[in-house]
């Protein structure tokens, strides 16, 4: 197959941060009219490569060629003017403005300084129409769900330079984790848009943690590991198993072993009992028993009450009915402190807003909960503290293994590990994990799942919440199924329990 010239070529890219070589000699090329996946574990250098490309970071070595000419960007707006647009995971638009305005703001068509609203709306409608979307451009952006807002962000980046005929429009479109908060239908719509743009000759760089999506929509992929290039492959030439091996450098049969192991593991005596615990507007009253060393997985759709159930057991919300007994003693659950004192730990799903303090160091974040149980008048001795922190950094393989690093600078998977370390250090009896693997890469996911298994072996009870049913099935001894804010079934895990079976239970909403 005769290949056209690449629209973008990066050769020998080097980027160094103090003490770390984030990228060492990475080559990357992008052809017009292709969808190219950039793959790698967290910390492999994907974001760094994108930031170098878009001018957020400056280069320490190597060259970037765009359309045959050497370029060097010093700011994102320079890259944008050259035709490289980026759409991030979070929607960076203004919800208070109309869709049309969000598409055109900053380059509105004007005549003598006066914005030509009619022309702006018409051009926005044409653009949206051309890309096959059905969006009312005059409605405020906030009236649309997040998924549509994301599509609008793409329309905006594609439309760059269209309004006044300046610039040649977008040649390279970078989509950084655009699908992480979309449901299946929305993902399909995004893919349709991507294919249409590809048809128009735009080169798309796609980053996603969902390997299935990569196989569905991408033509070619580049795999990074530890800041180096592992390989560039056509998607059709490499299967998923091979890809994962490339990404993490070892086989991934271990996860399968975890499942077998959990099916045959024994659980201990009763640890926590909830009798008719419920909260109006949160979750209907439920009974739940958790035994020592048991992993209970919660399955259910988003908004079915998984998190609400967990929050009640931690006292983050106060139950209006029922009682909770832990280790035979009734616990009032009027505040998280009661639960913490009784040995319950809770890793929130919003690790950024409810869990970690991004400006504190890894050490300070890890030590936070332990210090809280002691009270501020009794600081933990320095030597003991450093030893504990070092132990958990090593045990969880937190990278970089530097207790002084600020947590905000760590990758998502490593942040999750820091949060886990914080609670593990308090030696809880029951660990509640709410979506611990969301937004982190496959290698880190496997590590966290292994950790859950080894904790349960040590006798810790775990309440595990995850959107991916496979994960729940793999780890759990018992599966609680939720639907419409009600715990509808508790199934003992076994070979006959499959994702389909769980889905049927969710759909019918009945005990089976």
């Amino acid at each position: 197959m005769a290949e056209p010239l690449p629209v973008l070529e990066m050769t020998g890219i080097v980027k160094e941060f103090p003490g770390v070589r984030a990228l060492s000699g990475v080559d990357f090329r992008l052809f017009p009219g292709e969808i190219h996946a950039l793959l790698g574990e967290n910390g492999a250098g994907k974001s760094t490569l994108i930031k170098v490309l878009t001018g957020v970071y400056s280069l320490d070595g190597g060259t970037v060629t765009l359309n045959g000419t050497s370029v060097r960007f010093h700011s994102p707006s320079q890259a944008q003017q050259a035709g490289i647009s980026t759409v991030y995971q979070e929607v960076n638009l203004c919800p208070n403005l109309s869709v049309a305005e969000n598409i055109f703001i900053g380059r509105e068509p004007t005549r003598f300084g006066r914005i030509q609203w009619k022309r702006l709306r018409r051009e926005a409608a044409e653009l949206v129409d051309r890309l096959g979307l059905d969006i009312d451009v005059e409605a405020p952006l906030s009236s649309y769900p997040l998924a549509v807002q994301q599509l609008v962000a793409i329309v905006r980046s594609v439309g760059t330079g269209d309004a006044d005929g300046q610039g040649a429009g977008t040649k390279v479109l970078i989509l950084d984790e655009p699908t992480s908060s979309l449901d299946r239908d929305e993902v399909l719509e995004l893919f349709a848009l991507m294919r249409r743009l590809k048809g128009e000759g735009v080169a798309i760089l796609f980053v996603s943690h969902f390997l299935d999506q990569i196989y569905e929509v991408c033509d070619r992929m580049t795999v990074l590991r530890n800041g180096t290039l592992v390989g560039e492959h056509m998607v059709r030439d490499l299967d998923q198993v091979g890809l994962v091996q490339l990404m993490i450098g070892k086989a991934l049969d271990q996860l399968e072993e975890l499942h077998d192991h959990q099916l045959h593991a024994d659980v201990g005596e009763s640890l926590l009992k909830a009798d008719g615990v419920g909260r109006t507007g949160g979750i209907a009253p439920f009974d739940l028993e958790i035994k020592k060393g048991e992993v209970i997985g919660l399955a259910g759709l988003l908004g079915s009450g998984r998190t609400e159930l967990a929050r009640l057991l931690f006292g983050a919300d106060q139950p209006d009915t029922g009682k909770v007994t832990i280790g035979g003693k009734q616990v009032s659950m009027s505040a998280p402190n009661d639960a913490i004192a009784a040995g319950v730990a809770f890793c929130s799903e919003n690790r950024k807003t409810e869990g970690l303090v991004p400006d504190l160091t890894v050490r300070e974040n890890i030590i936070l909960a332990l210090q809280a149980t002691r009270g501020w008048t009794r600081p933990i001795p320095v030597a003991q503290r450093d030893e504990l922190v070092a132990k958990y950094i090593k045990a969880l393989d937190i990278r970089p293994a530097n207790p002084e690093a600020r947590v905000g600078q760590l990758s998502g998977g490593n942040q999750q590990k820091v949060l886990l370390a914080r609670w593990l250090i308090t030696r809880p009896k029951l660990l509640i994990l709410d979506e611990p693997t969301r937004g982190i890469d496959i290698g880190a996911k496997a590590e966290i799942q292994k950790l859950v298994v080894s904790l349960s072996e040590e006798g810790m009870a775990v309440l595990y919440i995850a959107a991916e049913l496979e994960e729940v099935l793999r780890l759990s001894h018992t599966i609680g199924v939720l639907r419409d804010r009600k715990l509808v079934a508790q199934l003992a895990n076994g070979p006959e329990i499959t994702p389909t079976r769980i889905l049927e239970t969710i759909a019918s909403g009945e005990h089976q």
Binding site: N92, L93, N96, R114, D136, L503
Partner: protein, 340 residues
């Protein structure tokens, strides 16, 4: 494949339902305020019709007596739309009255020179505050609070006593009347309406105006969309300083004196007018026309209390407080609905 979140949902991408659109319509708060004004005016008509409330001039006086407040509130609207706040408004007005009175009376300068100087000083003060807010990333609340003290203090540097203006050009300008359908407006009122119209044009028909809304909607996004967010912010405070100085000039015309204590706390009236006019304190949503109604409602409260005759003028404050509370609650419920 993940087997999650196949939730039943409203037709995706469809136009939002009619009811949702009405509630989410950002013009609704302005209409509520305009409605409130009409209701209050109707109450005034029915209660005081024998005391001359129905006269056109009573209505026009609302514009005359509140011209300086309207100009200051227009400046505050820009700042609040951008997601900021300007507490220095009252002090800049006070300082402008002192500066103008001093330049005219003690230095004998003609108004043609004094007016540009006063406006320039106000705009420059606003620019400095904007510069500090932007480049040192300090909360506007604190920076403009510093401005509040600074300008109030500078009044006393000029003179500790009030300076009354006897200059004939000032008094003739102050007394000039422009007849409007059965009544008259002062020059100050005309200027304030021109400022209002200009602000409306700038906010809705220029890129700068749209950037103000964008920054108020989401500053981080505005930055990532490649908008010159820093310059816009500084310009907004410069504009507020300019409006404050202009309001100060109108205030000088209205009172015909400079006094170190003039317009103390007027920034709070301006903010109240903006909020009652339906602009969200969090920024990004609101209309300058709403601000006009906000000012008119505040002015009408004063008139009604004057017509009542038996009530102390402190009732103005009480009524303003109650209204402000009510409007903030309305805004809160509206934004809460909008999110769901």
């Amino acid at each position: 494949m993940t087997t999650t979140t196949q939730q039943p949902k409203a037709p995706s991408n469809g136009t939002p339902s009619r009811a949702a659109r009405v509630l989410a319509d950002r013009r609704l708060p302005v209409l509520v305020t305009a409605g409130l004004f009409l209701v209050m005016y109707a109450i005034g008509l029915s209660r005081y019709q024998n005391y001359g409330f129905a006269e056109t001039q009573v209505f026009l006086n609302l514009f005359i007596d509140n011209s300086y407040l309207l100009v200051a509130a227009v400046g505050a609207t820009f700042v609040i739309l951008s997601g900021g706040i300007d507490l220095s408004v009252g002090s800049v007005i006070g300082f402008t009255t002192m500066l103008t009175a001093w330049l005219v009376e003690k230095q004998g300068l003609p108004l043609v020179i004094v007016i540009p100087i006063a406006l320039g000083v106000g705009a420059f003060g606003g620019y400095l505050m904007g510069y500090v807010i932007q480049n040192f990333e300090i909360q506007p609340f604190i920076v403009t609070l510093a401005g509040l003290f600074l300008f109030r203090g500078l009044c006393l540097v000029i003179s500790k006593e009030s300076i009354s203006i006897t200059d004939s050009s000032v008094s003739s300008m102050a007394q000039a009347q422009v007849s409007v359908g059965g009544g008259f407006l002062s020059i100050g009122a005309i200027v304030s309406l021109v400022v209002l119209a200009a602000a409306f044009y700038v906010l809705h028909y220029t890129r700068f105006g749209r950037r103000v809304y964008a920054i108020g909607g989401n500053e981080q996004s505005a930055l990532l969309m490649g908008l010159p967010q820093g310059g816009t912010k500084i310009a907004v405070y410069t504009m507020s300083g300019f409006c404050s100085a202009l309001a100060g000039l109108l205030f000088t015309l209205y009172i015909q004196s400079g006094d170190p204590l003039h317009a103390t706390g007027l920034e709070l009236d301006a903010i109240a007018a903006v909020v009652i006019g339906g602009t969200l304190l969090t920024g990004g949503s609101g209309y300058v026309v709403g601000t006009l109604f906000g000012v008119l409602v505040l002015g009408l409260i004063k008139s009604l209390i004057q017509f009542e005759g038996t009530l102390s003028s402190w009732w103005t404050k009480i009524a303003t407080g109650v209204l402000l509370c009510a409007f903030i609650l309305i805004q809160r419920t509206m934004t809460a609905r909008r999110k769901t």
